[in-house]
């Protein structure tokens, strides 16, 4: 490619065209990547309301919130006592029971109601509540993680506690999750 003009000018055009084209390619790629993020309707499925009257002491229900299971557990006095006693035990992910039951708006929770996101923090299975298990709480059948009556991880491969679901009491007998 013989060129009698200034080689710098010649190269400038090629570099500029290449750079602009590269910017365009990058900008074009973004919509195709971003489209896999949650859609607006998915993001808006924000709240689930739960009526607590039907849950007896010592029982729990699972409700769906944003497509994920949530435990709503009506704890017995023994479970509450065990959870509060273990606030100062040797914990992998130290957290006090009172923090774990606090409402989303900063108000304190009620000790008998524990509302947790139900997916094991190891690889996402749903643990089962086993009476008389090592820590009195949930046990994950997939890889053997043990949680206590506050949903804190005590033994096994899971790295963290079952995260509390954000909720507030609407009335004495109903809560809104999310």
């Amino acid at each position: 490619m013989a060129d009698d003009r200034d080689p710098n000018k010649r190269d400038f055009i090629f570099i500029a065209a290449g750079a602009v084209a590269a910017v365009g390619a990058g900008a074009t790629a973004w919509p195709f990547i971003d489209q896999m993020n949650p859609a607006a309707d998915t993001r808006a499925l924000s709240t689930t309301e739960v009526d607590l009257t039907a849950i007896e002491i010592g029982q729990q229900i699972k409700v769906m919130w944003q497509g994920k299971p949530v435990f709503v557990r009506h704890r017995t006095a023994n479970e509450i006592a065990a959870a509060q006693r273990d606030d100062y035990a040797s914990l992998k992910d130290p957290q006090k029971d009172a923090e774990r039951i606090a409402q989303d708006d900063g108000q304190p929770g009620r000790a008998e109601w524990l509302i947790l996101q139900a997916n094991c923090t190891h690889l996402g299975c749903v643990p089962t509540f086993v009476q008389g298990s090592s820590f009195g709480g949930w046990f994950c059948p997939c890889h053997g993680s043990d949680y206590d009556t506050s949903g804190r991880i005590r033994r096994g491969p899971a790295p963290a506690n079952l995260p509390p679901a954000p909720y507030v009491f609407l009335t004495d007998t109903s809560v809104r999750i999310g």
Binding site: A17, A27, A40, A44, L45, S46
Partner: protein, 281 residues
Amino acid sequence: MLRALTISAVAAAAAIGVAFAAGEGGHVEDYPFSFDSPVGGYDMGAVQRGYQVYAEVCASCHAVEHLAYRHLGEEGGPFAAYIVRNHETGEEEMVVHKPEHGGRFVDVTDNPYVRAIAQAAIIGDIDPNTGQPVDRPGRISDKFRRPFPNEIAARASNAGAYPPDLSVIVPARHGGADYVRAFLLGFTGEEDGTLFINTAFPGGRTAMAPQLMEGRVAYADADTPQTAEQYATDVATFLQWAADPHMEQRKKTGIVVLAFLAVLAGLLYLAYKQVWRGESH
């Protein structure tokens, strides 16, 4: 030779375009809507008022099944809220019009206007405890309340006629928003049996009775005339927004893209000239 051919092909294509545009049907006036031009956005005041007309008049028969309450408060929606700082008081306050400068978009879940609109609606649902049908206040994630549970119920309540869904009525009609506006204003007041004479409606007779009488909807803004023309223009604007809520975003993106492509094409032309410099061809 091929150049002449190209010109004749373009001319022929233009002629076809004209032939297609001149469709059959009633008389439709071309109204200068704000969104007609390639850069024109929505008159959000008109979209808000049009929503009010829809909610107070149209919604008793017509659904907008693709719209959820949250759509009203998403960016580009008529009730999108922004936090701005008041220059005089220094206080932060919430406004529903997108401010000229700055302004922080309020996530639709925290938008009090949209929440209020949703909560005022009564939505049919299934009680999670009893499994029985139950009515509850709406949430922002709910689709707009439908006036009839299904088409059969809609026909039964409207002497056999089915009030069409309005969420995409504008692109579904030849003439678009102009047609919708002309239809709403096209009633002559005459009746033919159970049908109503309408100059814009193809065939001239429609099952829908005239609805937009002067003063039927009370606008909060006293400066806006409460006439049938104003109602029709506003509701046509709202329905255009309902069918194409991302139009403003699309047009704005288009300007950036076209400007970019113009620069790129210019640079590529220079590069092309550079490469072919001195080559006979």
